[in-house]
């Protein structure tokens, strides 16, 4: 397989996994909602697309299997079989099997024995839906639908001297409402030329019971003779251009025009070609050229397959075709099938797939650029050269825009990740005999791709945990007077520079006493101490902890939530638990939006530079000894009538403070709380490229990374969540030794 095809194969694999994912969500949707034609068509198209693309690569196993599924869906579409829950389950299993098939085929691996068994089993089940089992089903050939077009020669002229134009018109639904009459438009055409032939596409018009009488469904294929040029013809259509899609094939055409024309049409090439041949638009000469070109390209594609008609046979085929033509049902089917190819085509032109490695490299380079820019900025300030300052300012402005755009490229919506859990919830629910409805909101919240990849596991654990431990069994729920169907909510939203993901269930809530006794039993905490509720709820994140009385398949082995916390820590995130007896539990997970470059706030403590994410900074206050009075050991101030606890960073990091230096309090907001940091000089906003600290400092608490300042000095990035946690621990230790309770968080 050559490199080109290899690349296309990769595209196929990623695309089919997308399609399968979509199929899954449709099936899950249909399980809960009334079945609509739209959704069934979408299912059909998905499976058809996969079958077609698999055919291109010669994955016969996949093609054969998808073909059976497709035939079944066709029956569903024709309303011969109804899509009930058992069929949805079967289709979900088929989906999984197709996904396996593609994976095996793509890696050139033979199917394993158990997969063959699964396949046989599925086929038996599928075939049971067909009233007359079709034997030839497994032998039928693939019908590739994806068209590939490589470099096309613009130079090959294929036109005739006959001045025959071909015009495809598709009027839009609102044509009549806009006061337009297609008949007059066509009459108008006859003024500057002659309509040689015209076919009305009756298949575009829905059945009488479905038709929207005042909407326009009309489309025409027109063979037109005129010696005017293309701009003139387009002008004739000027006043309908909003109501009509026009695809024109000029008489003086290149091969490229012809291929473009095929590409722009919603019809299959073979069908369009039939129409064109039938109407006399395309000459035998053109057909020959088209064939020759196709052969030269030697790409497996439908154009090749469909137009490989030897010219001498044309006559016969042409006459045969005119008989078949405009067979309404036939046309209708073909069009339905056609849609996926078109959809993919339009999507491809909007979305570019890039190797994420290239993107990472770009982000790294942008990071270096930011540092370089800061350096120049610093130098320009030192030189005191206004012109240099100005251009440095301008450049920095651009750099920050480049930075933002580059980072945005990596932003993806969290919805797709969320949707994957639909299946998980359904499956686990089934296994445990619980009926659970998963509601997803905030799916369009965006976050860094690298973060998305890493939150999958912790979220999965939280969801499993919620289903297994949180939501009660049906009987229990009914006994408590709750609705039998358990509710699970996945929600995402942005909050001060972080993304917050909530996993919320309406189950029984955490049992405080049980957790505490279990924690004592496992030796996680000491039995003599008093713990606050929040502290107790946090114990569930400790390794080896499980309150489940019996161990289930899903959870209860005590691995799980500790992994959650570790994973979340690794992403510089944090997790909070809120719970209420019999009303449910909410896990609030917070992640930074991005892991690479942030807007930071630079300040100094002693001689060292520190950075905190700018989004977390609420305000800065000048620190005066008077405001806290004589008691210098006091760690809180009165901020406009509210108590603001603060942390003396110089003490915390044990750096030497400069004598008589000014001090400031930086008010930070995190997880809904305000806390002050007592710091030295303020240096303001800075674009911060986060650099990891390296192995030696890996365990350092309170610092998450470093950055290089314009001056070449190193600034340390303060990790607010871990700083909060560290302070909490210290306070707890001091409470334990001093006996009084002062808490910062």
């Amino acid at each position: 397989m050559n490199a080109d095809l290899e690349e296309v194969k990769e595209l196929f694999i990623s695309e089919s996994s997308e399609i399968l994912q979509k199929m899954e969500s449709i099936l899950l949707f249909l399980e809960l909602n009334p079945v609509t034609d739209d959704k069934i068509h979408e299912l059909f198209r998905s499976i058809h697309t996969i079958k077609g693309s698999a055919g291109i690569f010669g994955y016969e196993e996949t093609v054969n299997f998808t073909h059976v599924v497709e035939s079944l869906l066709d029956k569903v579409r024709e309303k011969e079989i109804s899509l009930d829950k058992s069929l949805i389950s079967l289709l979900l299993d088929c989906r999984d099997h197709i996904s396996d098939l593609i994976e095996y085929a793509a890696n050139d691996r033979k199917l394993e024995e158990n997969m063959n068994l699964i396949q046989a089993d599925l086929l038996v089940k599928l075939n049971s839906f067909f009233s007359e089992p079709k034997k030839d089903m497994l032998d039928s050939l693939p019908e590739p639908i994806t068209e590939q077009e490589n470099i096309l020669p613009n130079s090959i002229r294929v036109g005739t001297d006959l001045k025959h134009w071909h015009i495809s018109l598709r009027f839009k639904p609102d044509t009549y409402r806009d006061g337009l009459e297609p008949f007059s438009v066509l009459k108008y055409l006859n003024r500057d030329g002659e309509i040689l032939n015209l076919i009305t596409l009756t298949s575009l018009i829905p059945d009488l019971n479905l038709i929207e009488p005042e909407s326009c469904y009309t489309g025409f294929e027109i063979e037109y003779k005129s010696d005017k040029d293309v701009s003139f013809i387009l002008q004739a259509f000027e006043f309908v251009e909003y109501d009509c899609a026009i695809n024109i094939l000029p008489p003086d055409r290149s091969l490229q025009d012809l291929l473009d024309f095929f590409k722009n049409s919603e019809f299959k090439t073979s069908k369009l070609l039939r129409i064109l041949l039938n109407m006399g638009t395309i000459s035998n000469e053109e057909l020959k050229l088209l064939n020759r070109w196709k052969r030269k390209q030697n790409v497996p594609s439908t154009i090749g397959a469909n137009i490989d008609i030897a010219p001498q046979e044309d006559q016969a085929i042409q006459s045969q075709l005119s008989k078949q033509e405009v067979n309404a049902e036939d046309e209708l089917k073909e069009e339905r099938i056609l849609k996926p190819a078109k959809d993919i085509g339009s999507r491809e032109s909007k979305i570019i797939r890039i190797d994420s490695g290239k993107l990472d490299h770009l982000i790294n380079l942008v990071g270096e650029l930011v540092i370089g820019g800061a350096n120049i900025n610093q130098l320009s300030q030192k030189r005191n050269d206004p012109e240099l300052s100005e251009s440095a300012y301008f450049m920095n402005h651009l750099i920050s825009e480049i930075r933002e755009t580059a980072l945005k490229i990596r932003m993806v919506q969290i919805g797709e990740t969320f949707n994957r859990f639909q299946r998980t919830v359904r499956e686990i629910g089934h296994e445990l005999g619980k009926e659970i409805q998963l509601t997803i909101s905030g799916g369009d919240t965006e976050l860094d791709k690298t973060v998305v990849e890493k939150i999958n596991d912790p979220l999965m654990h939280l969801i499993r945990n919620a289903i297994d431990h949180g939501i009660e069994s049906k009987e229990e729920r009914v006994a408590k007077g709750k609705p039998a169907i358990g509710q699970l909510l996945l929600n995402a939203f942005h909050e001060t520079g972080s993304i917050v993901i909530e996993v919320k269930d309406d189950g029984k809530g955490l049992n405080r006493d049980k957790i505490l006794s279990k924690a004592i039993e496992k030796g996680i905490v000491s039995p003599d101490k008093q713990y606050s509720d929040a502290e107790i709820y946090r114990m569930i994140f400790k390794a080896g902890f499980s309150t489940a009385d019996k161990i289930t398949n899903i959870s209860g082995r005590g691995v799980g939530l500790d992994v959650v916390e570790k994973n979340i820590d690794a992403l510089r995130g944090s997790v909070q638990v809120f719970t209420e007896k019999d009303n449910g539990t909410t896990f609030k997970v917070r992640f930074p939006l991005t892991l690479a470059i942030i807007d930071g706030f630079l300040f100094r403590v002693g001689h060292s530079f520190y950075v905190v994410p700018l989004d977390l900074v609420v305000e800065c206050l000048e620190y005066k000894e008077e405001i806290i009075g004589n008691n210098s050991g006091k760690n809180y101030i009165n901020l406009r009538g509210e108590v603001l606890p603060f942390l003396r960073l110089s003490e915390f990091f044990q750096t030497k403070e400069e004598e008589n230096s000014r001090k400031n309090i930086l008010v930070i907001q995190y997880a809904g709380k305000h806390v002050g940091l007592l710091i030295g000089a303020l240096h303001g906003e800075i674009q911060t490229v986060i650099k990891p600290l390296g192995k030696v400092f890996e365990k350092l608490k309170g610092i998450s990374g470093s950055t290089i300042l314009g001056s070449g000095e190193v600034g340390l990035i303060i990790d607010i969540p871990s700083l909060f946690k560290r302070v909490e621990e210290m306070e707890r230790a001091s409470v334990a030794s001093n006996g009084y309770n002062v808490k910062i968080v």
């Binding site: 009305t200 829905p206 059945d207 009488l208 038709i211 009488p213 049902e329």
Partner: protein, 126 residues
């Protein structure tokens, strides 16, 4: 701007007489009448003699009716086409699609070449 629909239930078919304008202004009524008739009857004859205005929206309903009957193995025939209907069927190349017998006057024969579309059945004139 009105359309009158007369329905006569005969022994082996239902005769629908359309009187007035089969245009965008009346398509709602046209569609509703034809839909009801098709739902209730196997063979339908549509008399177009008194149709005095016709447009693409009207032809669209006819096509939909034809398609619907085809799928349900029912039959719909249109008869006594007035000039305004023939003009559209001719330009749109739909004569073959409907396959109805169209009776033309001598002048109409000159005016309408019937050369478009794909002809399934031949027509006869007088």
């Amino acid at each position: 701007m009105s359309l009158e629909v007369k329905i006569q239930n005969l022994s082996n078919h239902c005769r629908v007489s359309l009187i007035g304008k089969c245009t965008i202004y009346n398509v709602l009524k046209l569609r509703q009448s034809l839909l009801e008739v098709i739902n209730r009857n196997q063979n339908i004859l549509v008399d177009l003699e008194k149709v005095n205005d016709f447009d693409t929206a009207g032809v669209q309903i006819f096509i939909a009716a034809k398609n619907t009957t085809k799928q349900t193995q029912k039959k719909i025939k249109f008869i006594s086409h007035p000039t305004c209907v023939i003009a559209i069927l001719d330009l749109y190349g739909l004569v073959g699609f409907f396959g109805d017998k169209i009776v033309l006057t001598a002048e109409e024969r000159k005016e309408f070449p019937f050369r478009y579309g794909i002809k399934k059945q031949s027509m006869s004139g007088n």
